[in-house]
Amino acid sequence: MTSLAEPTGAPAAWPDTWGDEAKPRMGFFTDTTVCIGCKACEVACKEWNLVPEDGLVWTGESYDNTSDLNANTWRHVAFIEQRKPLKLDGETATVETDAAVDPEPLRWLMESDVCKHCTHAGCLDVCPTGALFRTEFGTVVVQEDICNGCGYCVPACPFGVIDKRDLPRSPDDAPLALPLFGKNEDGRVWKCTLCYDRLKGGHEPACAKSCPTDSIQFGELDELRERAEKRLEKLRAERWNGAQLYGHDENDGVGGFGAFFLLLDEPEVYGLPPDPVVPTAHLPRLWRSTAVAAAAMFVGVAAAFIGGSE
């Protein structure tokens, strides 16, 4: 219990559980500074993983019509239009951004968001069936033949990534064993698998493969982290406004992300939590409190018998 969400760089019990089959931990480094918002990642993900269509709407929110990550969107490109200089010299815009010409220069941020494959994953921790598991690559994947749609992982994710899919069941599906509770929907939870099937075959995930600018970089996590630090140094030297790594720190509330980011503004601008913490970090204390509350309830009800039957 005490080992829950301790600030370590490795997921609990991983990779020991895999023995000889263990592989280096794989992940994504999404460098948003070179993202051009082409959404090839969204499309490639949908095609490879057979992710269903999830509504065709115009949101009016820049070029983003996908809005968020959910059961049917595993890569989501965020678009942010800002009146902020791209580069800063101290507090003022640099000459490069033509601050003299336009005092309110526009910058257009794009970020391809994805499941973070957390070192301490809330979804995996709370899954009561074991449908969510840690693969030999250190990624977090749902086994769809095990998931019974309890939905606990959905509010347990600090990033709002995993979600329940409600779609008509295919006519080929086996009839439900309990007609009394008949449901006409998929009912299970879905999220990015970091293309587990492709990894098994020695390929990189579909999104990374399709990314034309290498904004999405796939590889061994340790190497990606080094690469990201170098990139950040370069951007800082070039005075890029707001450049920061997100999910790179092994000591953060989820033990670092398996898929981390280089952002150009605060995380919340991109719809990301600034200080995510895995819910189970508080669980030892929560269990103690629950046990004491149970005992108190017991004593309280027993005390009601003082004074006899009347």
Binding site: P158, G160, P273, A294, A295
Partner: protein, 329 residues
């Protein structure tokens, strides 16, 4: 499926929609701080649980506390009360798993809950507690009804007696162990709140089904439970501060008000007239039960409201970060 309707234009502008001016940045929050958001969209997902879940929180509470009521009544020789509590508990214990299975996205796979015991998942732990408690309480009630196999009945009663209290409080841990701010931040209060609500519910139910001359302990449990619960609710809202304001808003707010009105009226009626008048005990008990159902619904709805507004997710985290930064300096 996630609600992907575009948020209202006015709302979007307020929440920091990129516009043509420099002051697009951030909504002015009620605490006077500014915050960026992505078109005002939520960060954490709303739960996908259905109405079965708050009803289960209620029935699970009734079942858990009734098991204790039954056991202690039996030990103190109050046969009449012990019988009421036994059957109330068994009924609640029978409904509970049905509600939970019905809520699953794949009900036919409910046995997958029994694939493992996982201490990091309050739902896994709770499934096992409910399995034991529900099985034991229903076995005991059936054997009592049939008047056979006394040793087995005693064993079943013992199991139900011991699993009752955790059954009543683990649901608090279940919702607290999420990323929903109003649930997660209330981790010190929720198991206690749910325990108090369970005691009040079981007491009220037993007071309805037991003649007044035997129902003293049930009435006292109901009154003490509601008093404790009102205090805990107050303490929780106070400590939560900004995050807790959802208990004053929308559906959660309405349920909270309804709950307060019903429990106060019901427990007052029980305390003042319940000893002499069965009618008063029944009316008061029904009011308390209604109040407890409303309480579970209030907590349930608060979680949805809390997830929907990114301010509740971002601002406490920002506060935490700036505190840490100050500490590091």
């Amino acid at each position: 499926m996630t609600d992907r309707r575009p948020i209202e234009q006015g709302e979007a502008m307020k929440n920091g929609r990129p516009g043509g001016t420099t002051d697009w940045k951030g909504s002015i929050t009620e605490r006077g701080t500014t915050m960026d958001s992505y078109y005002g969209r939520p960060i954490v997902k709303e739960p996908v649980w259905n109405p079965e879940i708050p009803w289960y929180f209620f029935t699970g509470g009734v079942a858990g506390a009734s098991a204790v009521l039954h056991g202690v009544a039996k030990l103190t020789g109050n046969e009449r009360l012990s019988k009421s509590a036994l059957y109330i508990g068994a009924a609640a214990d029978a409904i509970s798993p049905v509600l939970l299975i019905k809520d699953l996205g794949r009900p036919e796979r409910f046995l997958h809950m029994m694939r493992m015991f996982k201490v990091t998942s309050p739902m896994s732990v709770g499934s096992w507690i409910l399995l034991a408690s529900s099985g034991a309480a229903n076995t005991a009630a059936a054997l009592e009804l049939l008047g056979i196999l006394k040793p087995v009945k005693v064993m079943a009663n013992a199991v139900s007696f011991l699993t009752g209290p955790p059954l009543a409080t683990y649901t608090g841990a279940l919702v607290a162990n999420t990323a929903i701010p109003v649930w997660s931040e209330a981790r010190d209060e929720l198991p206690w709140l749910f325990g108090a609500s369970a005691a009040a519910s079981a007491g009220a139910a037993a007071a309805i089904f037991t003649p007044v001359e035997h129902a003293g302990p049930a009435r006292r449990a109901a009154v003490a439970g509601t008093v404790a619960e009102l205090g805990l609710m107050q303490a929780m809202e106070h400590r939560l501060g900004f995050v807790g304001e959802v208990y004053k808003k929308g559906e959660a707010g309405r349920f909270a008000k309804l709950s307060k009105a019903c429990t106060v009226a019901g427990s007052t009626l029980i305390a003042l007239k319940g000893k002499r008048s069965r009618t008063a005990a029944v009316a008061g008990g029904a009011l308390v039960l209604a109040g407890e159902v409303a309480l579970r619904w209030s907590v349930f709805k608060a979680g949805f409201q809390s997830a929907r507004d990114p301010r509740y997710t971002v601002l406490p985290q920002r506060e935490r970060l700036s505190k840490r930064k100050k500490g590091a300096q």
